[in-house]
């Protein structure tokens, strides 16, 4: 009996142990399965203008490029260090003109086309083709001449630029590699996700790229997510409501108003990563061929006029009232959050309507019955456009309207849907002033070559200049090219410090505020770690997971 009892106990113990082990294994398996499934949902604020990664110039297309594009090297948004991507290793020559990559082997595009050095050469040639007007390519243009690519083997390539390009390796973070041979062209990708469906005006569906090459530390294939659904939703109120209802998993960039409300009720979902690199600015249309009256062009092309407007804007109030303290008054092109490249000699822009009035009077403007008139008697009135639905910008415009009224300037605030605004800004040039933001992807000023070079498409106040139209723009061109063509960090810093000073003197962009990086992430999302660099919340999308529904 006793023996039988003992045997029964042993059997029960063994069975129990076996069940426990089986349960642990099953749990682990289910955990693994759940980590590798699920759909992440968030919003794009506007229709993506292109799926060609080389032609990206706005946030929506940029987000898609980040999620789908495979790059040779990647800036880790958290550590801000450069990490290997499709390239296992790379080397920049001493003269800073050449970069050699050793590529990973056995990698395929999402459609199965093999990835080789030929694809890199093809991408670089496309990128630097002047006919394409690639904003990404502008960052590589440090001198005149052709870029030479040399395919050494299927996994080795060297690229030689006509002159030195500073921070050359980091610039490749923005270059998504295209397939030379795939019939799907730019829809064949090397990134963690691929575009599976696009419904204009509604959504973009990204599915996991089955051929993605990365694996995690446990040997599991990345990405964990099955898909990402990007809803096109310009209205931020709707976006917030949907997030609160659980229909969205994250909001990459949050308005301060909603941040405060969310932080009050669910502090664990609201993330303030601190001062960001992004800025909000106002600029005037200085395009010579724009269809605005000549006398207005004269105002807008006058540095004294622009300086006066800048002095008449109360930036402290913009930060305090519009952003509820979650922003800092901007001092110049770079945020003080960019500790190395920010010019510490720049002083906060002072708010002084009196000084503004003096600047205007020196240009022949005068006040008549509370209305400002120019020297020819034209009433100073202009419109500021911004994108409808962006409450912060709409409110900034109304505050600026009120500030400028104090010096007799009448401002008409017009909100437009984003595509109309972009069309006016980049095609018809039919506008007078714009309030928009600048998203800084990289800490290095080379990432902004496309903004500061006068020949660039993104030189917003007066783009695509054949030759610089003003001496100070010529000087900025020279300094930007000079800093881009040396690897001496001290010289680069000196050159870019001077660029910042010129921009503050000339005010082509009237920088208003630097916003804090505010975001919202649902508790369902695992692996999220919001940072100040864009894209703040989904920079590590391949390692994010959400429970499968």
């Amino acid at each position: 009996m006793k023996q039988h009892d003992r045997g029964s106990k042993q059997l029960a113990y063994r069975c129990g142990s076996a069940i426990a082990v089986a349960l642990i294994c099953l749990g682990s398996l289910l955990g693994q399965l759940s980590a590798q499934s699920g759909e992440l949902r968030f919003c794009l604020r506007a229709e993506p203008k292109t799926f060609n990664p080389l032609k990206v110039e706005e946030d929506s297309s940029g987000a898609i490029r980040y999620l789908t594009g495979g790059v040779l090297v990647r800036v880790n948004r958290q550590t801000q260090e450069l990490e290997p991507g499709l390239a296992q290793s790379w080397k920049v020559s001493k003269d800073g003109r050449q970069i050699s990559f050793r590529l990973r082997s056995g990698i395929s595009f999402s459609d199965g086309t093999p990835f080789t050095a030929e694809d890199v050469a093809f991408t670089v040639q496309q990128l630097m083709d002047p006919a394409l007007h690639s904003p990404t390519g502008d960052a590589f243009r440090s001198g005149t001449g052709n870029v030479e690519t040399k395919v050494i083997s299927p996994t080795q390539i060297s690229i030689r630029f006509p002159s030195q390009v500073a921070g050359l390796d980091r610039l490749f973070d923005q270059v998504a590699i295209l397939s030379q041979h795939s019939p799907k062209k730019e829809m064949a990708v090397l990134g963690p996700f691929m575009v599976a469906d696009y419904k204009p005006g509604s959504e973009v569906l990204l599915k996991r790229n089955p051929n993605y090459w990365k694996i995690d530390e446990q040997g599991r294939k990345l990405p964990y997510l099955d898909s990402i659904r990007l809803d096109i939703q310009p209205n931020r109120d709707v976006e917030m409501l949907r997030f609160k209802r659980g229909e969205l998993d994250l909001i990459n960039s949050l308005d301060s108003e909603y941040f405060d409300k969310l932080a009050a009720t669910s502090p664990q979902l609201a993330h303030d990563a601190g001062a960001s690199l992004d800025s909000e600015q106002l600029w005037f249309n200085e395009v010579a061929k724009s269809p605005i009256p000549g006398y207005k062009k004269n105002w807008f092309r006058s540095a004294n006029f622009r300086r006066a407007i800048s002095e008449a804007i109360n930036r402290e109030d913009l930060s305090r009232v519009v952003f509820r303290g979650h922003a800092q008054p901007a001092m110049g092109p770079f945020s003080p959050a960019n500790k190395f490249w920010f010019n510490p000699n720049l002083k906060p822009q002072t708010y002084s309507p009196d000084a503004a009035m003096k600047s205007l009077q020196s240009e022949g403007f005068r006040l008549e019955n509370g209305t400002l008139k120019d020297k020819d008697g034209n009433t100073v009135v202009f419109s500021i456009i911004t994108n409808a639905g962006n409450k912060s910008r709409e409110r900034m415009a109304v505050l600026i309207q009120d500030d400028l009224q104090k010096i007799g300037i009448h401002v008409n605030v017009v909100t437009l849907d984003f595509p109309s605004l972009i069309e006016r800004m980049t095609q018809s040039f039919d506008y007078e002033a714009i309030i928009l933001g600048l998203t800084n992807v990289d800490l290095d000023p080379n990432g902004e070559m496309n903004v500061w070079l006068s020949s660039s498409d993104s030189h917003q106040w007066n783009p695509q200049q054949k030759t610089p139209e003003t001496p100070w723009e010529a000087e900025i061109d020279r300094l930007m090219r000079a800093q881009a063509s040396t690897s001496d960090l001290k010289k680069r810093k000196e050159a870019f410090d001077r660029v910042q000073e010129i921009v503050v003197e000339q005010q082509p962009f009237i920088f208003l505020v630097n916003k804090n990086a505010l975001s919202a992430v649902s508790a369902n999302v695992h692996g999220a770690a919001p940072v100040i660099l864009s894209p703040q919340t989904f920079w590590n999308a391949e390692r994010l997971s959400v429970p499968a529904k």
Binding site: D237, Y258, V321, V322, A388, L399, Q401, N412, T415, D417
Partner: protein, 274 residues
């Protein structure tokens, strides 16, 4: 009994409309500040003695904005309604009276107008307008557009009414005794169209108020800093609970009360028309 309560309702509606109109007309005296005045140290403030309905997110007195916004919406919506009714009378009434090919052409044009996606066309029209227009001009243009585009439904009703009048006995009799067409139209047809015209006018007012409110929510209506019910309703977009800041609902309540009052008066007009 029912008739007495209906009369009481109409009297109440009339009193409400008179009160709202009087308050908005006296905005200059009743409002503690101008609609654009920004109290930047008291942004998003709750109701207080200084600001009866609190302040908006950039510190503007909400009570002042409600008063001035009411003035704009209540003055211009009837103006737009008048314009659309006039167009409907001209197109629908005349087509119905003339009949035949005229009626068919007019109704084809009306059907075409009715089938167009007006919301998108209005957005496009507003986006195509010159940017540098003053807030006052933007208000006028918005309501002018609403007036010019809102005649179609009324035109169909008037066309049908005019067609039935054309074949009525008294018109036939007048024609038989040799009354000229133009004179017959002005003496016999137009007076009989009046009740329908009044009814269409009253129907259009709340429709235009709501249309302007919709355009305002899209950021395409009345330009800043000028208030309208549309721009005031925009404040409600981000609200998740009524109890959070209930005073923000005042413009919405006012809109509902005014539209209901118009509807009550309208039922009287419909009775007259019938």
């Amino acid at each position: 009994m029912r008739s007495e309560s209906m009369n009481l309702g109409r009297k109440l509606a009339c009193a409400v409309l008179v009160l709202v109109l009087a308050a908005s007309a006296a905005a200059n005296w009743l409002a503690p500040a101008g609609y654009a005045r920004q109290y930047r140290d008291a942004t998003g403030a709750p109701p207080s003695r200084a600001h009866w309905l609190g302040t908006d997110e950039i510190g503007r007195d909400r009570f002042a904005r409600v008063l001035y916004g009411t003035r704009i919406s209540l003055l211009l919506a009837p103006a737009a309604a008048f314009l659309s009714t006039l167009m409907a009378a001209f197109i629908g009434g005349l087509a119905g009276y003339l009949g035949g090919a005229w009626a068919r052409i007019a109704m084809a044009v009306t059907d075409l107008f009715l089938s167009l996606p007006w919301l998108f066309l209005l957005i496009t029209a507003r986006a195509l307008m010159p940017l540098n227009v003053s807030p006052l001009v933007s208000v006028l243009v918005t309501f002018l557009l609403l007036g010019l585009l809102g005649w179609t439904t009324a035109a169909r009703v008037l066309c049908t009414t005019a067609a039935s009048l054309r074949s009525s006995d008294f018109v036939r009799q007048a024609r038989a005794v040799g009354l000229p067409g133009q004179r017959l139209f002005w003496i016999h047809v137009v007076p009989n169209l009046k009740p329908v015209l009044y009814a269409q006018f009253w129907i259009s007012i709340p429709v235009f108020i709501l249309s302007e409110a919709n355009l305002g929510i899209l950021g395409l209506g009345v330009a800043e800093p000028m208030p309208s019910w549309g721009s005031l309703l925009k404040e409600l977009e981000g609200m998740v609970s009524v109890g959070e800041e209930p005073w923000k609902f005042v413009p919405l309540i006012l809109l509902v009360v005014v539209v209901t009052s118009f509807q009550l008066l309208l039922s009287r007009q419909e009775e007259i028309a019938a």
